[in-house]
């Protein structure tokens, strides 16, 4: 019950290998793609270098951050069922500081390096002559961007650390009596609600506007932040599923049963539908009102009836992978309790939402010259390796079951 994860050799090899692949792609990218090249969009490879880094650092950061969001919502809802695999979610969220640092480096290089091919609002002369952009300049300027990004990532890392600390403290203290347990749960609720407030003000609204939507600064959508959140939350739950199934197959996490997997599967199913709901709401309103400044976003992606855009395939592939597959495959109860199919669906959903982020970032940056080659695949592999390393490290340092958690029994006897 009090066992730590002994990282198997294969796991170490894979995580190190993937990180080396990522680092090599970055290194080769620095020499081949000219990251310091023209920032006016005439050097496609230079733009591509930064756009891919932006897409991946933001995607994987938001993905690991939803681990803490998952803990906080279940804490606030007084949920007990997740306690059996709570340490896995904690392990995923323990990557927020390092992922946040990587993201900060990338976005600050972009902003301070004056990459106007990524963020057009960095061009001061252009902003002064553009009425819409000068109206938004109080929000979209390098100072605000930098301060908000640092503050956001700092708060995620700080509150997440606090939540993990409170969980780890219980391991030393021994079983809690009623009053101590009550006080401990209340302390968790307080910090958890602080995290939810910060999460709502960042991922729920401003952060996607700053980091992603400002790639097309003229265009705006009120659905955008929720869309980004749904995208990362469903892939975050898929990541939890992948690690839970991996550990179950290694014979760990003895309290996690098919019932827990079933509930995680319900999360994957429900948030895939939620994502589609937001995707459709954003698409339909813009399609219906048919105003040029709004439709430009979709014309860049699908193209017009005369001329198909270069992202048309990806755009519809995105919808099939993230909506049609989950609704048809995950609908049945037996599928949500099947390790093989759940692994398949989790990988598919993470890949699908990675593609989703690709089509959110690329059309506004590299425009008509999208590439999907060694660099686009090498960088995410590095991030996957990093996640594997971080999760393995956390689980090998701390017991895999929070044995003194007041709700542990509720999780053991959980029945859907």
């Amino acid at each position: 019950m009090n066992n730590h994860f002994v990282i198997p050799g294969g796991f170490k090899k894979w995580s190190a290998g993937l990180m080396i692949v990522g680092a090599l792609s970055l290194l080769v990218g620095i020499f081949v793609l000219h990251p310091g090249g023209s920032s006016h969009g005439d050097d496609v490879n230079s733009t591509r270098f930064w756009a891919v880094l932006l897409q991946n650092s933001i995607f994987w950061l938001l993905l690991v951050n939803t681990g803490m969001f998952f803990i906080c919502i279940t804490t606030l809802a007084m949920g007990g069922w997740q306690v059996a695999f709570r340490r896995v979610t904690e392990a995923i969220s323990s990557l927020v500081p390092i992922m946040g640092l990587l993201t900060l480096i990338v976005i600050l290089c972009i902003v301070l390096g004056h990459r106007i091919d990524i963020y057009p609002w960095l061009d001061k002369e252009h902003v002064a002559s553009d009425k819409i952009l000068s109206g938004k300049s109080g929000f979209l300027n390098p100072t605000f961007y930098t301060v908000a990004s640092v503050l956001t990532i700092g708060l995620w890392a700080f509150i997440g650390r606090k939540m993990r600390q409170m969980s780890l403290e219980t391991d030393e203290k021994g079983p809690m009596d009623y009053e101590t347990g009550k006080a401990w749960v209340w302390k968790n609720v307080t910090w958890g609600s602080a995290f939810i407030v910060v999460f709502g003000l960042t991922v729920g609204s401003t952060t996607p506007w700053l980091w992603l939507m400002s790639i097309d600064p003229h265009w705006f959508s009120t659905m955008y932040s929720w869309y980004t959140f749904a995208s990362t939350f469903v892939s975050g739950v898929s990541l939890i599923v992948l690690f839970v199934i991996y550990l179950k197959n290694r014979g760990e996490l003895e309290y996690v049963t098919e019932e827990h997997l079933h509930d995680l599967g319900k999360f994957m199913f429900a948030f895939s539908i939620f994502w589609t709901y937001l995707w459709f709401s954003q698409y339909m309103l813009i399609w219906y009102s048919n105003q040029p400044e709004e439709t430009i976003y979709f014309i860049q992606r699908i193209g017009t009836s005369e001329h198909a855009g270069p992202y048309k395939g990806i755009f519809f592939f995105n919808l099939i992978v993230n909506f049609v597959c989950p609704i048809l495959i995950l609908m049945k109860k037996s599928v949500k309790r099947n390790y093989t199919l759940m692994t398949f669906m989790a990988v598919l959903i993470i890949f699908g939402h990675w593609i989703d982020f690709y089509q959110m970032v690329m059309p506004g940056t590299v425009k008509g010259n999208p590439k999907m080659s060694w660099y686009e695949f090498g960088i995410p592999l590095g991030y996957i390796g990093l996640i594997m390393w971080g999760v393995g490290r956390y689980l090998s340092k701390h017991p895999m079951v929070p044995r003194n958690h007041p709700f542990l029994k509720e999780s053991i006897i959980h029945h859907t």
């Binding site: 459709f280 339909m284 219906y288 048919n290 609908m331 029945h415």
Partner: protein, 195 residues
């Protein structure tokens, strides 16, 4: 519609009820149903009720709703009465999706409620025999259906040794009927128990 003989055993504790159910099933008696004052987790599993097919019905109702909405709107706007609305195509799929979605939900929910009522044999006006009034208060009531080969005294003592605090034998209608309780005396014999 058939009047059958039942042995009714009352338990006042879940912890006694579950082993009793196990023993009764192992002894080969047929459990008609178990009535509880509140939902008991794992009870449906213990008495061996098969998985419900309500979700399959829901899926079929939903698909029917989708087909109805899309078919209806498609037919109206392309062949029956084509209108030019805001320069959109005659079959504007995105504009039809919300209505299709709502119709799907409507068909699925209404259809499932009706199917659920049918499967549980409850409807306005439908009556069923109540085996024990305290099944809605504080007793877990296990009802065993008798065949012509069943020895009631044997079942009664079997239930008593398994912890039932009260056991009686009733002859009552197994299914449901329309009507009023006070006018349907012929459907059950022991008037002092049940309604």
């Amino acid at each position: 519609m058939s009047v059958k003989k039942f042995v009714v055993g009352c338990f006042d504790d879940e912890k006694v009820l579950f082993p009793a159910i196990k023993n009764v099933r192992r002894a080969g008696y047929k459990i008609h149903d178990v009535y509880t004052p509140f939902p008991v987790h794992g009870l449906d599993h213990a008495i061996g009720i098969r998985e419900t097919s309500l979700h399959t019905a829901g899926f079929i109702f939903g698909i029917t709703g989708t087909a109805t909405a899309l078919g209806c709107m498609g037919w109206i706007f392309t062949s029956d009465w084509p209108l030019n609305i805001g320069g959109k195509p005659h079959f504007p799929l995105p504009a039809f999706i919300p209505i299709t979605f709502e119709t799907t939900v409507l068909f699925a929910s209404v259809g499932m409620v009706m199917t659920f009522c049918y499967l549980c044999q409850m409807m306005p006006g439908v009556k069923k025999h109540h085996f024990h009034p305290r099944a809605t208060d504080d007793l877990f009531v296990m009802v065993i259906e008798c065949t012509e080969k069943t020895n009631e005294t044997e079942v009664t003592s079997f239930l008593q040794t398994n912890g039932a605090i009260e056991v009686n034998v009733q002859e009552a209608e197994a299914g449901w009927w329309f009507g009023r309780y006070d006018k349907q005396q012929k459907l059950y014999r022991h008037e002092e128990v049940g309604y």
